[in-house]
């Protein structure tokens, strides 16, 4: 499927905002990615916003880590095997 941005030669700030989430997740086409990065090179406000979004994504992953009762879960797994035998 051809991207709706295939004919574009630059992105404005509104388009950056619209495509920001896809950029963060690496879902842009090569052409979109190139235009997106070009925009960030000269547009400080957009660059700062995107850096913050990327930082936030990493932050959520880091802060939502849990202490996992691994041994307890393994025991449950073994108990499950015993019951099934």
């Amino acid at each position: 499927m051809k991207s709706k941005n295939a004919h574009k030669d630059h992105f404005d700030c509104a388009e950056i905002e619209e495509l920001a989430q896809k950029y963060i997740d690496g879902r842009l086409t090569d052409h979109e990615d190139k235009l997106f990065k070009e925009h960030l090179e000269y547009c400080v406000p957009c660059d700062k916003k995107l850096k913050f979004e990327l930082q936030l994504k990493e932050f959520v992953q880091l802060k939502s880590k849990e202490e996992v009762p691994t041994e307890k879960l393994k025991r449950k797994l073994n108990k499950l095997f015993e019951e099934l035998n």
Partner: protein, 193 residues
Amino acid sequence: MTEQRQKEFSELVEPHLSSLYSTALRMTHNQNDAEDLVQDTLYKAFRALDQFQRNTNFRAWVFRILVNTFITGYRKAVKQPQKVSYDDLEEFFLYKKLDDTVSLQESSKEDFLDNFFDDDVKGALDSLPYQFRLVVLLCDVEGFSYNEISKIIDAPLGTVMSRLYRGRRLLQRSLWNYAKKRGYVTDEVKKRS
């Protein structure tokens, strides 16, 4: 035969126990229920092991079982947030809020996130309606691709994307509310000259 099957299953599932439990905990909000949910998932996965196609993505396969088990057996018991408003959920919600507030200098915007404790973030995640929370967890915490999430939650790619993007904005708003409650920021708006 049985022992071999158990060994194979253990080897497949053990690397993912932490992820399964963490996701179960964020979905059920409760350690006992999370452990039960993981146990039910393991039971079903083991019984269905013959259906799993070897050399395909076991992690996505077992997460799909976890999600279905949650939806059919646990979802109703979990308290959903009160009515959630989707107004004012613009892109870069948190950044723009920080930009507009009096108390923060430009230099501290990058340090703003350091204020939060782990429990603030977990609380903010827990406050999202489960459909949004699930997709944010699968993508941003567990690192699944859009296509994998689409298969795990059995929804089209467009639904995955809209839930993810909206879920992230809801999370940003929730973090903003935590920051206000904890006194990390004020709501006073900058005067623009």
